[in-house]
Amino acid sequence: MIRLVGGRIIDPAVGRDEVGDVLIEDDRLVEGRAPNGETVIDVSGFVVAPGFVDLHCHLREPGFEDAETIATGTRAAAAGGFTTVCALADTRPSTDTGSDVEALLVQAQRDAVVRVLPLGTTTKQRDGRELSEMADMAAVGAVAFSDDGRAIRSASLMRHALEYSLLVERPISSHAEDADLAEGGVMHEGPLATVLGLRGIPREAEEIAVARDLALARLTGGRLHLAHLSTAGAVDQIRRAKAAGVRVTAEVAPHNLVLSEAAVADRPYDTNARTDPPLRSADDARALLEGLRDGTIDCIVSDHSPRRWVDKACEFDQALPGISGLETAFGLLMRLVHNGTLSLAELIGALTRRPSQAWDLPYGTLAPGAPADVVVLDPDQAWVVDPERFLSKGKNSPLGGQTLRGTVLLTVAAGRIAYRNGL
């Protein structure tokens, strides 16, 4: 039993923003009552919010344990304030069947310090040719399907995937990228790529794929979820599609909201700033933020992509894309709050209520009876990012040496303290 005393409770799911106590009994939140011998933690002066819900996280296990494991990845998640992470299926073997999903859940049961919800692949081995056993996987706990890392090239297969997913009413999360236009590209196509001599990926690579997927969602009535958006054009299209009743949800990662392609050149050819999709212009970032604020984009995800040192300490073209982002997500996003373009409540909502709503998950709120997933935040504390000290095995971050303002002080996942820092 834990009582968090005196914090400013921000729970967008129930429209709550007031000072009060939060009471945890076993793995649930309970109605406030008189103190009764529980552990008391004084959180006055800090913010208490529902634990963050991440719809897009690469835990790399099974198969890529040198890059990350469920144990290390979930510890990093807890340090970032995330109490639920949805694990992508690009493991080895990929999560194609019910038994793959079960194996993952068993492992998570043993090793994870926060809740892990598995995704299954959309197509077997993410080959883009045959549908995976969605019903089998959904039955044992898969929350969505995605070939993320790869785009589904065939429009007719994507159509079938969206149609078939109606059987299990789960979203198909699409890595929307035209593989031909994007081929060989390593950063945003524009004047900076010209100066650096790097092959660019034009915005149109995403826009064309988004257009296709939206049209197929409209055709089939299936639930489309668009992953890690990077362009203003995608936001415009989704806005129109939602207005027309297409069943689409969308996510955006902190780095695409806050950073831009300039990060590639800050330290010349910084491979830590290589992501897929790439960091684009400040205008795209602004449009993505606007889309988040007006509901076109449903939520923020971490898109945590840990990489081995050897996969980043090389030529830019050779480097694997990805940012190890769980532990810097909150601090990075707080830049938007500190510069006045996003309110703290909006930010918390985008990390809790809205992702839960997008995928019908029973999380993201502090209402009594809800699972005891709680995070205590200090929105103002400054700290210097040192990737070597990440709990994640992935030290690949372009933020090394930068100062962020906003820290996670305490993370409670299902009633157990999963992370504690300074409280």
Binding site: E189, G190, P191, L192, A193, T194, V195, L196, G197, L198, R199, G200, P202, P268, Y269, V310, A313, C314, E315, F316, D317, Q318
Partner: protein
Amino acid sequence: MRNGVGQLPAARRQRRHVLDLDDFSVPEVEAVLETAAAMKDVLQRPIKKVPTLRGKTLITLFYEASTRTRVGFEVAAKALGADTVSVAASTSSVTKGESLIDTIRTLQALGADFVVIRHHQAGAPYVVAEEVGPGTSVINAGDGWHAHPTQALLDLFTIRERLGRIAGLRVAIIGDVLHSRVARSNLWGLTLMGANVVLCGPPTFLPAVGFGDGLPWNLERTYHLDEALEGADVVMLLRMQLERQTGGMFPSLREYVRSYGLTEERLARAKPGAVVMHPGPMNEGVEIDPRVARGVQSAIEDQVRNGVAVRMAMLYLLSGLPA
């Protein structure tokens, strides 16, 4: 009265690596050009050698084949009395999958004062520069599409040698600009030294998204050769690679020659006495007519000769402890 036996300007003293021309100042470029003139003198003596870099080792690490650049650096190093070692990636353990960083560490352990690297990927020399120890200078001999700083320096030298100045000249750079590190480095160098640059090539090699607004260089763009040549003092041709055709970027060499091949007739549109340049190797009959290549306006052989002097100058200016 020149600054006599003085030190070079402060910016010069700090330089350890030559990775791109984008961080050179005008005084620095001037220092290179002046020193190169003195080095050219050395190369005209009966004994084309001075003991300045005696005891130093220069390693060329070439992941892409090249004759003129690699030999240019080797001759330059030897003319300064240094020892040279050349590593051609295709024959070394690199083909066994040794990473760039591992290769650099090995070369470091073997003792290199200068590492000259040519690589097919942009940014590779920066990886090398991060990795080498404090006593080693890295020179970029060409990294993918990104930069070829010593080429641009020797081009500037050649232009000034032929025309007496650089500022105010109209320089037309013609060909596959998109994939050209020579074009990029020359853009830095020429605009820094006050020339006016016009880029010309097929639209697929000058895409608007990358060559429109937001570039750090003031330049003109045209898809039409005659427009670019009008009033040009210097015509710099870029090599057209056949693979681009199969990449769907232009239909045929025949069409390229018709639209962009520099013939004597088309050259006449440029200013009388305009200088024709090409970084080599040339596709004679494609981007340049053989008669133009061997004609009086061609400075192509000068470029090769000047390449040694400019590289000697660069090595000399990189030697010595920072003040």
